[in-house]
């Protein structure tokens, strides 16, 4: 349905005998609609579309075909500016690399932890998983079950101190010769002061090489403020967008990239541990716009 959106908008634009200011404004309005329906942040939609509008207005003397290509290129470039190009994490194999997973309740962190463990195991890393979620009932059992399914050991302690668990786990896995550790944490949102503080203390204490913010692909306009709160509390180095096997277009992830100034690194598109993909900007832009 979104596929019709951008293509129909472009077709409408180039089928006009005269591509005047009104035609461009109509095209921009069509683009805005697609982006809003894809859950991109309202302000970002207006900034992005204004920028495209002004560029198209100065270039509208181009012929139909080149105008079409120009419109698509402009749109794509504006989006890549926000979400980033392809970017892979390639941790060194000769020293320890620690990845901290953070995000809102239910976004898919625990499931992603196992996917990431399998992803890196396939690349030859020796991976360890740490369950540093001390609140959610069954959190350890969930990660343990997932860890078993990807033959990765899970560290956990039955204590009330998430930061201590993460540190003890780090020490434990170092002694076991692991070179890549993934720390799963409890879900939290921007209003939960003490949980944000725990996350800050966790980052200070274990100094992860990478903190990944896991974003639910279905998130709406709240994406900006929520992501901003995470970025203010920790050094968000990258984003993971989940549940893209559904109908969500993922505009909230684009928004989160803008709010955190970080790139989208991975996409999760299913419940199974194999349902993980390296981020592809063309595929993601295509999903949002068609």
């Amino acid at each position: 349905r979104v596929k019709e959106g951008l293509q129909a908008a472009i077709r409408k634009l180039i089928e006009k005998d005269v591509v005047d200011e009104a035609a461009i404004k109509e095209f921009v309005r069509d683009i805005q609609r697609e982006l809003l329906q894809a859950d991109v942040n309202v302000k970002i939609v207006f900034d992005l579309s204004k920028s495209i509008e002004s560029k198209l207005l100065t270039e509208r003397t181009k012929s139909g075909v080149s105008l079409k290509e120009r419109a698509i290129t402009l749109l794509y470039d504006e989006m890549v500016k926000i979400m980033g190009n392809e970017a892979k994490i390639e941790p060194p194999q000769d020293k320890l690399y620690v990845i901290l997973l953070v995000g809102i309740q239910g976004s898919g962190k625990t499931t992603f932890a196992a996917k990431l463990a399998k992803y890196f195991t396939k690349k030859g890393y020796k991976v360890g998983l740490i369950c540093a979620d001390i609140y959610r009932p069954g959190a350890y059992e969930q990660l343990k079950t997932l860890g078993d399914s990807v033959s990765t050991e899970v560290f956990w302690e039955k204590i009330n101190d998430a930061v201590k668990i993460a540190n003890d786990g780090k020490g434990y896995f170092v002694s076991k010769g692991k070179n890549l550790i993934i720390v799963d944490t409890a879900g939290r949102h921007k209003e939960e002061r003490s949980l944000l503080d725990e996350m800050r203390r966790m980052e200070e204490s274990i100094s992860p090489d990478l903190t990944l913010l896991v974003i639910d692909g279905t998130i709406g306009q709240q994406a900006y403020n929520q992501a901003l709160a995470f970025a203010k509390t920790t050094k968000v180095g990258g984003l993971v967008v989940t549940k893209l096997d559904g109908t969500a277009k993922g505009g909230g992830a684009l928004t989160a990239a803008a709010a955190t100034g970080s790139k989208i690194l991975f996409v999760s598109n299913g419940e199974r541990v194999d349902d993980i993909e390296e981020f592809s900007p063309t595929r993601f832009a295509g999903r949002i716009l068609g």
């Binding site: 239910g106 279905t218 998130i219 709406g220 277009k249």
Partner: protein, 283 residues
């Protein structure tokens, strides 16, 4: 003076932006502003009357209409009717992954216990890692009986067994947990429809995430069409959700929101109050 399209075009545009930023889904926003615009054009307002105030009142009226459209549901009244006939009342919870179904069930059982009803939990998520342990921990914390089987067993059978057990042992309410699922998965939606057919719950509740954007409408419509539900619970309102999601989902399904989730504790559930929500949105 008589309002023209030109008079209202700027305030209507601003209203559109405000509604979108308040997390109302795009389609619902278009419905609201076109309904307001059609009532505004040709409307006479006195020279002193503020057109913005006029628009705000129309907005309030339109939102109230959306919320008063569904038949309201008094869940405790329904439960009491069955309890008086010594039949257990069963409630099934459904929705996409991670919205808070399992946690909401725990909160509901606390609400029911406070009113003196006995509750039994049916662990009909026999698929997701840790799902049974999660619900089991809640049952232990709350002192409740839980019916469960091993992972991979038939979720419909667990639900049906829970109902039978409740009838045999005189429990008042059965709460049925189901695995989260994306509404575009034909197989999983058929499985859910089968769980519902076999367990025949008295009430089916769609649990949605108040942080979700336009997708919430797509989820709700598909669950309604393929499986059917009677009421909605929106969770994570404590994340500072503006609440627009509640408008989107009621507009899209015509079903009432009965509760909102306001945290991760057993007491973090509140009755949904449309007036409160509208005031919050308009503030």
């Amino acid at each position: 003076k008589t309002l023209t399209e030109q008079d209202i075009s700027e305030p209507i545009q601003q209203l559109e932006v405000n509604l979108l930023e308040s997390e109302v889904a795009y389609e619902a926003v278009q419905y609201i502003i076109s309904s307001i615009s059609s009532k505004l054009v040709g409307q006479k307002i006195s020279r002193t009357e503020d057109k913005n105030k006029f628009i705000l009142n129309l907005l309030r009226e339109t939102l109230l209409n959306i919320f008063s459209h569904p038949t309201q549901l008094d869940i405790f009244q329904e439960i009491q009717k069955k309890v008086e006939n010594k039949i257990p009342y069963s409630i099934m919870f459904l929705g996409i992954n991670g919205t808070g179904k399992t946690t909401t069930i725990a909160k509901m059982s606390r609400l029911l216990a406070k009113k003196g009803y006995s509750v039994i939990l049916a662990a009909s998520d026999t698929y997701r890692a840790g799902a049974i342990e999660q619900l089991e921990t809640h049952s232990q914390n709350l002192g409740l009986k839980i019916l469960k089987q091993k992972y991979g067993s038939d979720p419909a059978a667990v639900a049906r067994d829970a109902k039978n057990y409740a009838t045999l042992h005189n429990y008042h309410v059965v709460l049925i947990d189901t695995a989260g699922r994306i509404q575009t998965s034909k197989n999983l939606m058929e499985e859910l429809a089968k769980i519902k057919r076999v367990s025949a719950p008295d009430l089916t509740i769609f649990v949605g995430d108040s942080l979700a954007g336009n997708d919430l409408v797509l989820q709700a419509r598909e669950f309604l069409k393929t499986v059917g539900f009677d009421a909605i619970i929106l969770t994570k309102m404590d994340a500072d959700a503006k609440g627009g999601a509640s408008i989107s989902v009621v507009y899209a399904t015509g079903k009432p929101i009965i509760y909102i989730g306001t945290g991760q504790g057993y007491d973090d559930i509140q009755n949904f109050d449309a007036e409160w929500l509208i005031n919050k949105l308009l503030s």
